[in-house]
C-alpha cells in the first residue's frame, strides 16, 4: 500500500460497508476480505481493525454474536439498526469526499 494515511479515516466506513454486504463477519475474515477486494493493495492490521470494531460496538453501531468454532470462541460482528443508518450516512459522506477530491485533483475524472 502506497500511503496508508489516506485510508485511515475511511476504515470505519469500510467495516460498515462490508458488514452491510455480508451480514455478519469476524475480524480475520474482514482483513482477508479487504485484502482480496483490493488485490493485496490495502492491508488492514489488527492494531487498527479491532479497536475500530470495538469502538463501533461501544457506539451502538455493531452488535456481537459469539459462537464456538473449532474449540475456540469466535466473535461475529453485525450491524445494528443504528449501524445500518450510519452506514448509509458514511457512504454518502465518502462519495462526497471522493467527488470533491476528484474535482480538486483531476477535474476531467468523474464518478459516473
Amino acid at each position: 500500500m502506497r500511503n496508508s494515511k489516506l485510508y485511515k479515516g475511511s476504515l470505519n466506513t469500510i467495516i460498515l460497508k462490508l458488514l452491510e454486504e455480508k451480514g455478519k463477519m469476524y475480524g480475520y475474515e474482514i482483513t482477508q476480505k479487504v485484502k482480496e477486494i483490493t488485490k493485496d493493495e490495502l492491508r488492514v492490521t489488527e492494531g487498527a481493525l479491532y479497536p475500530a470494531l470495538h469502538k463501533l460496538e461501544a457506539e451502538g453501531f455493531l452488535e456481537v454474536e459469539v459462537a464456538k468454532v473449532d474449540n475456540r470462541i469466535r466473535k461475529y460482528y453485525k450491524l445494528t439498526e443504528a449501524g445500518e443508518k450510519e452506514t448509509v450516512n458514511r457512504l454518502l459522506a465518502l462519495e462526497d469526499f471522493i467527488r470533491n477530491m476528484q474535482q480538486l485533483v483531476n477535474p476531467k475524472w468523474s464518478l459516473e
Partner: protein, 212 residues
C-alpha cells in the same frame, strides 16, 4: 484441519505471557491468531510451531498495539454504557420519584436525619455487588469491562464521600433540603446504573465462559 486443545492452550499462554491480561480480549485474539496460523499451515504446509513463529514475527507488534488501544476503547465503552443507562426515561422517572419520596419522608415522618445513611447504603450495595462479581464469580480471570469500570466507580465513591462529608454538609443540607434530596437521588440513580452495567458485563462474560 483444525488446531487441537494443546496448540490452542499454547497460543493462549503465549498471549498471556506477552501482557494480554484480559480474558475477553485474549479469546478474540486467540481466534484471530489461530485462524492465521492455520491458514499458514495449510498454505505453506508447515508445522504448527513454525507457522506460529513466523506469524508472531510479522504480527506481534500489531497484536500489542491492539492490546494497548483496547484499554482506551473499553473506557469509552464503560462511559457510553453509563451515559446510556442514565439517560433513559426509567432513570429520569426513578430520579423524580426518589426526590418526591425523600421530600415526603422528611415532611411527613421527619426522616431527614436518617437520610445520611442512604449514600452509605448505596455505596455498600454497589461495592459488595462489584466485589462479588469481580472476585467471586470470575476469580482470577480478568475481564476488561469489570476491571475498567473500577475507575469511574472509585471517582463516584470519592465524589460521594466528598459531598456528604459530615464536617460541612450537615449545616448546609439542613438549610438547603431540596439540594440534599436532589443529590441523594442522583447518587441512588447513578448507583443503580452502575449495578446494571456490572450485571450486563457479568452476563456477557458468563455467556462467553459457558460457550467456551
Amino acid at each position: 484441519m483444525k488446531l487441537d486443545q494443546h496448540q490452542l492452550s499454547f497460543i493462549d499462554t503465549y498471549l498471556k505471557n506477552s501482557g494480554i491480561a484480559y480474558v475477553d480480549l485474549r479469546m478474540e485474539m486467540l481466534d484471530h491468531v489461530a485462524t492465521g496460523v492455520l491458514e499458514s499451515m495449510n498454505g505453506e504446509n508447515t508445522s504448527f510451531y513454525e507457522a506460529f513463529k513466523s506469524y508472531m514475527v510479522v504480527n506481534k507488534k500489531e497484536l500489542l498495539k491492539w492490546n494497548k488501544k483496547f484499554r482506551k476503547v473499553t473506557d469509552v465503552k464503560v462511559l457510553q454504557a453509563l451515559k446510556t443507562n442514565l439517560c433513559t426515561p426509567i432513570s429520569a422517572l426513578a430520579f423524580l420519584a426518589c426526590i418526591l419520596l425523600l421530600k415526603m419522608g422528611a415532611e411527613s415522618f421527619n426522616l431527614i436525619t436518617t437520610y445520611r445513611y442512604i449514600p452509605l447504603g448505596v455505596l455498600l450495595v454497589m461495592l459488595c455487588f462489584y466485589c462479588y462479581t469481580y472476585r467471586i464469580v470470575f476469580g482470577k480471570n480478568r475481564f476488561s469491562g469489570l476491571e475498567r469500570i473500577g475507575t469511574p466507580l472509585l471517582i463516584f465513591q470519592q465524589g460521594m464521600l466528598f459531598l456528604f462529608s459530615p464536617f460541612y454538609s450537615k449545616v448546609f443540607f439542613q438549610e438547603q433540603p431540596l439540594i440534599y434530596y436532589t443529590l441523594i437521588s442522583l447518587f441512588v440513580v447513578t448507583g443503580m446504573a452502575f449495578i446494571r452495567i456490572i450485571h450486563t458485563f457479568k452476563k456477557e462474560y458468563v455467556l462467553h465462559f459457558q460457550i467456551a
